[in-house]
Symmetry: D2
Subunit: 511 residues, 4 copies
């Protein structure tokens, strides 16, 4: 029933991977483990990007990566830097040869891609003292004299709000990269960076296969942090700190995931179906490229048989710049439950139209339940081709906005959730049933008559047709509205040209 | 190399089909001929709906149906009626038991379906004296006193025009169908119907398989006429007087085809991908159902491998109520050349948005050349998903409008045609190259910003994306404008976001 | 929620189909009913082939055809004949004009097609007195002097057995068809056929759409009988007395189905994917054509989205010549339960390798349970691509053989069945789990090393690979063997190269 | 029409890539060039693995990488080593920190995978002095005393032959890799390695995208050499020194390609469709996994629309260990012409069943013509699913065997070739036409009755069916046999059950 490989900080990759003679790196185990095998990682900090080399075979013949029971295992995308030189005041600098970063230097890589609207060009690098992340300054001067704001703009609501953690804004860095070296300037204030745990992020991911199709892998019980992940719009490659990269049947459970520059867990698309072509080619609307991703994905096997069906449960995800969980297309038929997600995009270093605690596109038959989502600029955003999706028993609080449902024909079901934000709901879709929710804040309903999106055969990725969002055809039953805000545009009308009973509607989703 | 079966009017279906012992019916031959065989039909009138029972195997191992060399063979959808009783004046009546019609009684079947806008409910029946068709009257009174108009509306141009043949309007019929009998009243004027060749149409088709997938069949050298074909919009089953019914690789050549109630040759879609659901269900726009047909067709194999690639050449087609040649989806990769098409929809008994000498949807990589098209209310209409299509060296004259290109992203090529109508061109598409044409009449160009249509991988039915028609990105070179009318909205701009050279453009189409 | 149409023997097809003004024929209702509508048929015998013209839309928006509650509704494929002339002794003859039969004359149509091995060329006609079917004689002489056998060969077991009903063999007919007439001679013994209910079968089917894609139809509460159905091997068109003809989501329930010349209920394939090409073309093995049907079907949408998912329950099916239930490809994801099936192929007028109470090919994820199957030459035959199939709690008795599982890679599950035949089981497959069955008779296990068959992605029609049957890798637990016969070749070994736990195995099937 | 980027040895990656301010690395240009752009590389040696980051858009809107006109540009997978220490005699050693190799150390990576039969476990490293490659020794002792053989086994013909270059065998290396260092021992004989151009291979590839779908790229005019490419069987990832990695529409022209450890140009498959699972899992035959790759590839878009259609022309390819050109599945619809291929697998360091000058699987509609192929252990091997393939006007000489055609149903065409080997032809297929060839040596014909392989719709990747190779059905016309050897098993019989005319046959291929 499979081999058990062990990895430990006192191991060697020349060893045989037994408990007695463990490997040193998780990647060594990842290169030998095949379907049915288990990789048990023992206590310690592993600074590597784990790239599974082989897939599992089925739900019962997986490859499992797990922290040894009762042991604390941390996988970090960062490296510790200890050669800081003091410059002036509390400003220090570190000079790092570019070879240190290999082909990917986060202090050179820019935040880039479709639908970034505020602060594109920020770098993917970060500096951490004792695990706390810094802000990137725009120039050396700002490092010396950090700008601490007392007001920031919430782009979603277009309101001025207090920053989430003003104290953090004092800690800033600025980097210069020349032909050979990367020089990082940082203001450490009272810390001596050479005496604290001072880290910079170096690797793009912590646990993410380079190749697609690495199916049926379980990742259990790790803490994973400090990856220099890029911006992940639905028209681009979507790597997260951890994720399956267009595979099927992953289980990501019992992990603590934090400080991903952009997205924490990605169950999104891969690169060949489109990679920021709007931004790169500037030749047609991003919306058109988004549509092309759907059909391009169809040609590389987007279907229940090939991708998705992931389980993401019992994870704690926080302090990510863009998304706690993200995913276009790859998220189909998945279950996301019992996760605790907070502090997403709340540092507000950059902004674009792809930010939320959970942001999914084409979440066909995906179930999102029992999650706690708070302190996000937007809690949950379900965009495009929402069909057969159920959002149930989630608790939202202290978000600038709680729930956004966009350009979809449904059917979908929103039940037993608690939405407490001032701005509770944006509904730019149709075919939804909202039942037994407790809703406090404002709700907005909009038609989308200028954008067609696909709808699908029931419980399938097969495209059945294309429609704009006429709006309406929603069902509202038994919700408790406790807020004092307005209710806009909610009604019942026809979608797909027919109206069903509520009972039938719910069965359609649940089948 | 295959068996040769013979069919003759003195044959017997109990015979063996040899030249010495021929079959009596073409259908008998059709039930035994398999891939590689040839059916040779000898002189005479065959009143049957030929339904091929077996497909050919490939372009070289076909089943060929042909008229014996030098012999006149006619297949008719009609039966001769000789029991007319004189009623009053020149009005006669014939009483026919309903069993005579079997399951399909054209005098009861109504003109029905999506996009009929004028005179829905007309019946599919017709009466002919010596081959000349009558008009259907609205009641018995009109049979007694026929209404002969001197002016009729051309719906395309919204202009009053002279009727094509006012004399023909005097010949009218009206039918009543009860539980057991069909009674036809007709005004024969100076004719005694029992002494002339008086026929009524009875069968839906002359040569059309009941089942799809009857690939690689050749039909050569027949005259075929007087079928009670139904209205054939792109969202319905599209049977014509003759056609392959969602098969691949037919050759229809050297035939004379006329007096089809609606369409002559159909290379269109079959029924399971949609059948007038807008009209039947009244629940969403026909445009949505049209989009659904494209994806539904994809699921039943719409591709170069499975359907289309027909050759339609050297036929004479005239006196059809809707289309000389029609076809949605099934027309891909076909060649239509050297046909003579005239008097289409010129009787003006009914009207809808699916009428033209040739009306094709999704004519991907279809070549239309060297045809002569005249005396049609609209000459050539290419609608939706025009891509890789070439229209070359066709001659248009005496049409109310010559050419209509609609809601497509191209690329397509219109070259060396002669357009002589007052209303020469409607261009509601983009991505066209118009080269070396001689154009006399008015040209209109329109955007279509409210309707998305699919575009495809080059030379493929694979959907690549969806776009509205922004208009523009057309190329006009070396055309000779000889008319005195206005030129509206022609320009050059971007489509799909980029502009190519003309040379590249044409190669894209021709590849 | 939809219109209710009524049909009654005192109705008129010129009526409006209300309860007060019902239609006369079910077909009239079938031509107007659209998704959501119900057709209620009132007491009486309906001699018509019901051909649904429109599909339902979904499991909740079906078209339902049902017998009015408490009323006896019979749909017959036969017509009553009352013009018998007495010839000599108890032999009578009826002369029928060929027009009576239309395009399909069962007394001329022959039993024909792939894998018929005994008595091909028998005709599809039949004669019934008071519902009891006759035997076809080989010539007039045998009509005069019927041959009553006391021993017949059971082809499955190659043993001589007693005929099922020797008395029935006395009742024989013989027919001659010339250019214009069909003459039937029959020996009625003591009956005067003009004074009894004497019928001949005329129509191919009782309830079967002519077109594919007529999804989501319910047929409930009818008795249907006496159809001249043709031989239905897996390489041909497979019409049954009733069936969906390559549609999705039918429910056939609470019906009594009997006296189908070949198959009763068909959930099989349609014609375009192959139609007896081995027999017609004689150019390569039937086995190759069978493989081609699988891939050809894939191209016309063979998938969970498009076909199958039928429910067949609570029907009584008996006295069919070939199969009680048959189906290649179209049977996927279906449930067949609580049916009572008996007297199938027990008249033994012909024989071929496609005969059983239930005969399914490619029954992916099909569930067969709680059926009672007895007095069949073979009870249940699952052939090719058995995967995810479960056979549970069925009772088999008085069959010549009970269960045959052939050329499949599994996994499949056979549990809680009672197999009582002398020849209980033929296992020419692998990957089966046999659990908690009670088995009395002989069991045979064979490898099939010369025939590759496809296996599929789990719970999908997507082909994953091809394999011969190495045999083995079966699991046997907790079965009770009560017979005295030998057990051949049963063991446990590897299939698909790996062995799973029983628990996992069963979950794989049940998922 | 696109940007022109320049790369030069005096450039900087911080520059802007203009001619005046060129980039330093080709990879920098590859990261910014988008569809329509051109990358011009100036004189010099570039030691990098070029990984295109963006695809072109179409055949006319490519990304072109080319050597500046008249300038010599070399891309090497190797690095120069100059710190050799003399040990004893002519043996030197170099100690290299493992970081030097990054994640891929060729001196640790083993030759591994399906169908290796001789010397698996050899390493992928190599040592070169002045461009000449060494042999790997089995231990240090063999470095000191190299084994120079005078006879070697040709595995194809099972004959003892003279080694290709005995002198080369004296130059040997042996490496040891520990936790931190790689130590290479080599016998340089009269050379002082620190004074010559001494290189070791380091990188897997010279020009190969890491991601699939990098379509429409041209690579022109480079010399590329010394890559540590792995073994590339049809069931694995198939990287070559250069190749498109499952993309469409590459042009590889006018290059000099040599010293690839395994394969030179790869137009083969990517990793997710299978990666040596037979070797890794040991659970079922490699042949089964090979079949699974075909269906798995179908699911990720194996089709004319998505992959293949490459042009490989005017290249010189030599000194590769496994293949000059290799490719399973990705090679469809490609043209391979006017290449000069020699010295492939002639060093004989290892052997397996995937070695040839050109080795293609599933070369549907691929054209191979005007190539010169000599001094290979096997010249051209076309394996599995050969259909629509044409091999024309190629010249074969000094190969141990010239042409091998295996387990295919055809049709394919072999015309106007000159085959001069003692062992001219292995024909384990059917459906071939051999016309106008000049053939000198032995020809062997075999049936393959135990292995089914797919055949396809004409000019398509759609699977039509599966068949074993019955053999026969070949056509031989107008060939000139000039040898003295036997002719075995050549005949004409049926394939796919029918025989066509030669004319039709050739048209089928050429269409």
């Amino acid at each position: 029933m499979g081999v058990e490989y062990h990895v430990a900080k006192n191991g060697s990759d020349l060893g045989n991977g037994t408990k007695q003679d463990p490997f040193l790196t998780i990647n060594k185990a990842a290169s030998v483990a095949v379907a049915g095998d288990t990789v048990i990682v023992h206590e310690g900090v592993y600074r590597e990007w784990v790239k599974p080399k082989n897939p599992g075979f089925s739900g019962w013949r997986r490859i499992t990566y797990r922290a040894a029971e009762g042991e604390k295992v941390i996988i970090k995308g960062s490296e510790q830097i200890q050669n800081w030189e003091k410059l002036e005041g509390s400003v220090w600098k570190a000079v790092i040869p570019n070879e240190f970063f290999g082909e990917y230097n986060p202090f050179k890589e820019e935040l880039y891609g479709d639908w970034i609207v505020y602060n594109p060009g920020r770098h993917l690098g970060d500096v951490y003292v004792n695990g706390k992340s810094f802000y990137e300054a725009e120039n050396f001067e700002q490092v010396v004299n950090p700008v601490v704001k007392t007001e920031v703009l919430d782009h979603w609501t277009n309101k001025i709000v207090a920053p989430h953690n003003p104290e953090q804004m004092k800690y800033v860095w600025y980097a210069e990269v020349d032909e050979n070296h990367t020089t990082i300037y940082a203001n450490f204030h009272n810390y001596n960076p050479n005496e604290e745990l001072t880290e910079i992020n170096v690797r793009k991911c912590c646990f993410y296969p380079e190749k697609t199709g690495m199916d049926y892998i379980t990742v259990q019980g790790f803490e994973m942090a400090q990856a220099a992940t890029p911006w992940t719009p639905p028209t681009a490659d979507q790597p997260g700190l951890i994720g399956p990269n267009w595979s099927k049947g992953w289980i990501i459970e019992d992990n603590i995931i934090h400080n991903s520059k952009c997205s924490g867990i990605s169950i999104g698309k891969e690169i060949s179906t489109g990679d920021n072509y709007f931004t790169k080619r500037k030749d047609k609307p991003g919306y058109h490229y988004q549509l092309e991703t759907v059909f391009a994905a169809g040609k590389i096997g987007w279907s229940k048989e090939k991708v998705g069906s992931h389980i993401i449960r019992n994870n704690i995800i926080y302090d990510c710049g863009q998304n706690g969980i993200v995913g276009h297309l790859g998220c189909i038929f998945s279950e996301v439950y019992n996760n605790h997600i907070y502090n997403i995009a709340i540092k507000r270093e950059f902004y674009g139209h792809e930010i939320a605690g959970i942001k999914l596109h084409a979440a066909i038959d995906t179930q999102i339940y029992d999650n706690r989502i708070h302190d996000c600029s937007l809690g949950l955003w379900l965009d495009w081709q929402l069909q057969g999706t159920r959002v149930s028993r989630n608790l939202f609080y202290r978000n600038n906005r709680d729930l956004f449902v966009e350009v979809s024909s449904g059917p979908y079901l929103i039940d037993h959730n608690i939405l407490t934000a001032d701005y509770a709901l944006d509904n730019h879709a149709q075919g939804g049933a909202y039942i037994n929710n407790i809703i406090r804040g404002k709700m907005v309903h909009r038609k989308m008559l200028d954008r067609s999106t696909p709808y699908h055969e029931p419980h399938s990725t097969d495209v059945k047709g294309i429609s704009v969002v006429y709006g309406g055809d929603d069902r509202w039953y038994n919700n408790i509205f406790i807020g004092d805000d307005e209710l806009e545009g909610v009604g019942t009308s026809h979608y797909h040209g027919y109206t069903t009973s509520l009972e039938e509607f719910i069965e359609t989703v649940q089948r």
